[in-house]
Symmetry: none
Subunit: 213 residues, 4 copies
Amino acid sequence: MTTRERIVTAARGEFAELGLAGARIDRIALLAGANKQMIYHYFGSKDGLFTQALEAEYARFRNAEAALDLDPLDPVGALDELLAFTWTYYLDNPGFIRLVNSANLHRARHLQGSETFRHVNRPFRSRMRAILEKGIALGMFRAGIDPVQLQITIAALGYYYLTNQFTGSLVFERDLGSQRALADRLAFNRMTILRLVCTPRALAKLEQVRSAA
Amino acid sequence: MTTRERIVTAARGEFAELGLAGARIDRIALLAGANKQMIYHYFGSKDGLFTQALEAEYARFRNAEAALDLDPLDPVGALDELLAFTWTYYLDNPGFIRLVNSANLHRARHLQGSETFRHVNRPFRSRMRAILEKGIALGMFRAGIDPVQLQITIAALGYYYLTNQFTGSLVFERDLGSQRALADRLAFNRMTILRLVCTPRALAKLEQVRSAA
Amino acid sequence: MTTRERIVTAARGEFAELGLAGARIDRIALLAGANKQMIYHYFGSKDGLFTQALEAEYARFRNAEAALDLDPLDPVGALDELLAFTWTYYLDNPGFIRLVNSANLHRARHLQGSETFRHVNRPFRSRMRAILEKGIALGMFRAGIDPVQLQITIAALGYYYLTNQFTGSLVFERDLGSQRALADRLAFNRMTILRLVCTPRALAKLEQVRSAA
Amino acid sequence: MTTRERIVTAARGEFAELGLAGARIDRIALLAGANKQMIYHYFGSKDGLFTQALEAEYARFRNAEAALDLDPLDPVGALDELLAFTWTYYLDNPGFIRLVNSANLHRARHLQGSETFRHVNRPFRSRMRAILEKGIALGMFRAGIDPVQLQITIAALGYYYLTNQFTGSLVFERDLGSQRALADRLAFNRMTILRLVCTPRALAKLEQVRSAA
DNA sequence: TATGAATGAGTGTTCATTCAT
DNA sequence: AATGAATGAACACTCATTCAT
C-alpha cells in the first residue's frame, strides 16, 4: 500500500470513530505510519482528507454492491438479497454508517463538488427500477412504488437501527446489538419490505411457503 | 429563564449543530449570555453539559409525544397519528436528530448512567403495545408484531430520510428537502407502516376508501 | 506593570530584533512572563500585537519629542535641538528605527486604520512650521522651505546612517558605529541642515562664532 | 537564463518583498520554475541564498552606477547626476532598498565574509573624492567635506524618503508616493546637497541662473 | 451567583531541509 | 542537472478548564 492509501485507510477509521472535529491529524499520521506533512501534501487540509475518506468509503460500499449478482434471482429474491446485503454491509462495516452520519452533520458540504462521489453513486439508481418493473410484470409487485423511496426505505430500516442502537438499547432497555436481536431485526425488515412491495396474492403465497417450512 | 436554562438551551443548539467535539464552550457561554465559569459551576464539564443537553432534548420530545391524545382514535388512526407526529417533530426540531446522532457517535456513553433519561423514556413503551392489541382485537392488525420493532421502524422511516437528506440528495440527484419531497415521503411512510401492520382485509378496505376519495 | 503592558514591551523588543515574520509569539510570551493565550486574549493575533507594538513605540517617541522645551530657544537653537534630539533618540532606542523599518516592509498596512497612530503624530506637524516662520521673521532662515520636507530630511540624515550602519560599515570599510564616527555624523548633519535652512548672512555669522570657539 | 540565475532572480524578489524570515523557499522554487532541491544544491541553505541574492542586488546597483559617465560634467553637474541617479535607481528598483533593509535587520551578518560584496563596492569610494577635489580646485565646493559623509547623505535623502514613505504618508497625511511629491522631493534633495557642498559664491551664481530660468 | 484573568496541553498547519533515485 | 517523497521541529492559534475575587 502506498503512503497515500495508508493515510486514507487510517483516516476512514479515525473519522468514523470520532467525527470530523474529534479526529486528530496526528493520530491519523501515526496510524498510517506516515508523516503528518504527507497528509497536507496529498490532501491539502483536514477537510480535504475528510472528503477523500468519504469518497473512498462510498466507493467501497458501491463496489461491494456492484459485486452482487441479482440477475439469476426472481424479483422477490433480488429484493431480499439487496436488503440482506445492505444490512450485512452495515453490520460488517460499522465505519460506513458512522462516516455517513458525520458527512451529514456537516450537511454533506464535503461532497458537494465531488465528481468522484457523483460518479460512484450513479449506476445504482437504475437497478432498483429494473427489479420493480420485473416484479410488476410478473404480477408479484404492486405498481406505483417509487424506486428511490423504496431504496431509501431499505436503507433506513437497517441503518437507523444500527446507528441508533446505543440510545435505542437504553430507551427500550433491551440489548439491540445481540446476535439474536440482530437476526430478529433483519427478519422484521424483510417482512416490512415484502408487505410494502408485494401484491396481496404474492404475499399470501409467500406466507404459505413460510408457514409450511 | 434562569442562567442555567439559558445555558442548556444554547448547548442544545451548539451540540446539535457541531457535535460534541465541534462545539465550543466559549460560544455556548456567549450564546447563553452567561459566564463561562457558570457552565463549570452547573455542569462540571463539557461532557456533563452534553449529558444534560441530551436529557433536556429527549424530555422535550417525550413531553410533546405525551401530549398526543390517541385515545379517541381507532387503531389505524392512532398509528397514523403517531407516525405523523414523529415525522413532524423531526422536521420541526432538526436539532433533535442531530443531537441523537451525536449521542450515538459516542455510543450513548453520556446517557449510560442517566436516571433522567431512563425515567423520561419509560412511559412510551406500553403505548404502542396497547394500540397493537386494540387493532388485533378489532381484526384490523395482524398478530405477532413486536411493538418495539414497530416503534423503531416508524422512527427509522422518517429519521433516516431526514438525517441523511444531504448525502441522499447528492446520491439521488434530487432535492430530498423540498416541500413536495417531504410530503411524498410522509405518504410513503404511512403506506409502508399500514401495509406492515394491517390485515389484508383492513388494507383492502383502507385502499377502497382512499381510491373513493 | 500589567500583563498587557509586559506583553507590549516584550513584543516591541522581539519585533524590533527579528521583524514581524521572524518574531515568535512563544518567545514574546516567555519574555513577558505571560501565557501565550493572553496575547490572543488581548491582541487577537500576531498582526494585532504588531500593530499595538508599533503604536506604543511611536507614542513613546512622540512623547519624548513633546517633552522638548523649544520655546526659550532661538530658531537655530530650536532646529539644532530637534536635530540632536532625533539623533539621540534613534541612538538610544535602536528598536524604534528597526520597528519602523518592519512597519514599512509591510507598507504600513498595520497602521492603516489606526486612530491611535494618527492621533499621536498629528501635534508634531505644526511645530516645525512655527520654528521656520520665526526664523524667517528674524532674517535667519531662508523663505520657501517646506516644513514637511525639512522634517523628513532631519530624520533621514540620522535614520539612514544608523539603520544602514551595518552594510555601510562594510561598504566603506569603516566602523560607522564607533563613538567617534557617531559624533562626526551628528556634526555633519547639523552642518547639512543649517546650510540648507539659514540665510547666507546667518550662516556666515554662525561660522564666525564657531571658528572663534 | 540558467536555473541558477532564475533562482537568484526569484530570490531577490521574494526576499525584497517579505524579508528573510517571511520568504518561502517553496515559493522561490516555484517562481524560478525550479526544483526546491536545486536551491540547496546551489546555495546550501536559505541563508546562503539570501547572501547571494544580496550580492547580486548590490552588483546590479554598482554596475548601473559604474555606467554613469561623469567625466564630461563639471563638479556640480557630476554631483547632481549622482544624486539623480541614486534617486532614480531607488525609485525604479524598489527591491534594492527593501533588500538592503533586510540585510541590515540582520546586521549585515550575511555579507560579513563576502569577498564579492567587498569587491563590488570598492571602486565607488574614490569617485566622490575626485569630484569634491575638482570642485574645490575650481572654487565651487567648500573644503573639508568628508566624501564618505557626503555619499551617505546623498543616499540618505532619497533612501529614507522612499523606504519610509508608507509610515510617512500616514504621519504627514499626505501621499508621499505621488508623481508630484516625488518630483518635489528630488528637487528638495538637490537643494540640500548643493547648499551643503557649494561655496556661497557658487551658490549665489547657481541661484541667479535658476531664478533667471 | 457571577466574573475576568490565567493556563497547559494541544490543534491544524507550515517550514527548511534531506533522502533516494 | 534534476526530481518527488519524506521528515522533524516549529508555528500561530485554540481549547477546556481553573484561580482568585
